[in-house]
C-alpha cells in the first residue's frame, strides 16, 4: 500500500478555495449567518475554522 499526500503548493490552493466563501463577509460571523448561508446556497458541507 502506498501513502499519498497533498503537496504544499496544492495545500495552499485548497486553503485559498476554502476561505473564498467568507472572505467577502463584512459583518460578524455567527451561527445565524452560517445557517442562512447554508439555506441560501443549499450547501452540503460547511467547514468553520477559528483563527
Amino acid at each position: 500500500m502506498e501513502i499519498i499526500q497533498v503537496e504544499d503548493a496544492d495545500l495552499q490552493a485548497i486553503e485559498g478555495d476554502r476561505c473564498r466563501t467568507f472572505q467577502a463577509v463584512s459583518h460578524p460571523l455567527n451561527a445565524s449567518v452560517i445557517l442562512d448561508d447554508i439555506r441560501a446556497y443549499q450547501r452540503q458541507r460547511v467547514i468553520v475554522e477559528w483563527h
Partner: protein
C-alpha cells in the same frame, strides 16, 4: 496521464491536482492507496474517478464500488454528490445502462444485498457483511454480501473517525484479507504520519 487529466476534467470540470492524478493512476494499476488530504480537497472525486475511468479505458477493474463511511449523514450527502458526478459523466460516456447508485445504512436500508454499482454504506453495514452476518439479510444468503466485498473496489472514507478499538481494528483485519484481491483506497484528513506508516506496515 493526459487521458486521466481529460477524463477528470469531464467528470469535475477542473483539472486534477497532483495527488489526485497519482492516486487515480495507481488505483487503476490495482495498487492500494492511503490518501491523506484535507477536507474540501476533492477526495470523493478522486475515489469515484478510477471506477468510472476504468470502464471508459476498458481496463480490468472491479464492476462494483463499495464506499464506506463512519456516519450515515455522510453516506446520504456523498451519494447525492456522486449522483450528480455520474450523471454528468454519463452524458459524455454513456453505457448500456445507467449506473445504480444505492444507499445502505440503518436509516435507509435500500440495498441490503449490495446490488448497486456504487453502494454507499456505513461501516457497520460493511463489516457485518464481511463477517457473514449482514444486517437486513437472512442467514441463508448471508455469504452473498461478503462475496460482493471481495469483488469490489473498496473506499474507506474519514478513516480517522473510526473507533480505534472496534471498527478501525476490524477494518485493518478486512484489509489484510482483501489485499491483492480487491483494490482499496483509504482516505483521511487528519491521520498523523506516524499512524499512516503503522497502518501501511500492518497491511503490507
Amino acid at each position: 496521464m493526459i487521458t486521466i487529466d481529460q477524463y477528470f476534467k469531464t467528470l469535475t470540470t477542473y483539472a486534477p491536482r497532483n495527488f489526485q492524478r497519482e492516486a487515480i493512476a495507481k488505483l487503476l494499476q490495482h495498487q492500494d492507496i492511503l490518501l491523506r488530504a484535507p477536507t474540501g480537497s476533492g477526495k470523493t472525486e478522486t475515489a469515484i474517478a478510477p471506477f468510472l475511468f476504468a470502464k471508459a479505458l476498458n481496463i480490468d477493474f472491479p464492476n462494483k464500488l463499495i464506499y464506506v463511511v463512519p456516519l450515515r449523514t455522510l453516506a446520504n450527502s456523498l451519494r447525492q454528490r456522486t449522483e450528480i458526478l455520474v450523471a454528468n459523466w454519463e452524458k459524455v460516456y454513456p453505457s448500456s445502462r445507467s449506473l445504480a447508485i444505492t444507499l445502505q445504512t440503518g436509516e435507509n436500508p435500500e440495498d441490503p444485498r449490495f446490488e448497486g454499482d456504487i453502494v454507499f454504506c456505513t461501516i457497520d453495514q460493511m463489516l457485518s457483511s464481511f463477517l457473514n452476518i449482514p444486517y437486513s439479510v437472512g442467514r441463508g444468503s448471508a455469504n452473498v454480501n461478503s462475496g460482493a466485498v471481495f469483488a469490489s473496489y473498496l473506499v474507506f472514507d474519514e478513516l480517522h473517525l473510526l473507533d480505534p478499538d472496534r471498527s478501525f481494528a476490524t477494518v485493518l483485519k478486512v484489509l489484510q484479507q482483501v489485499k491483492g484481491i480487491s483494490p482499496f483506497l483509504l482516505m483521511t484528513a487528519t491521520l498523523t504520519n506516524e499512524l499512516a506508516t503503522q497502518i501501511q506496515a500492518l497491511i503490507d
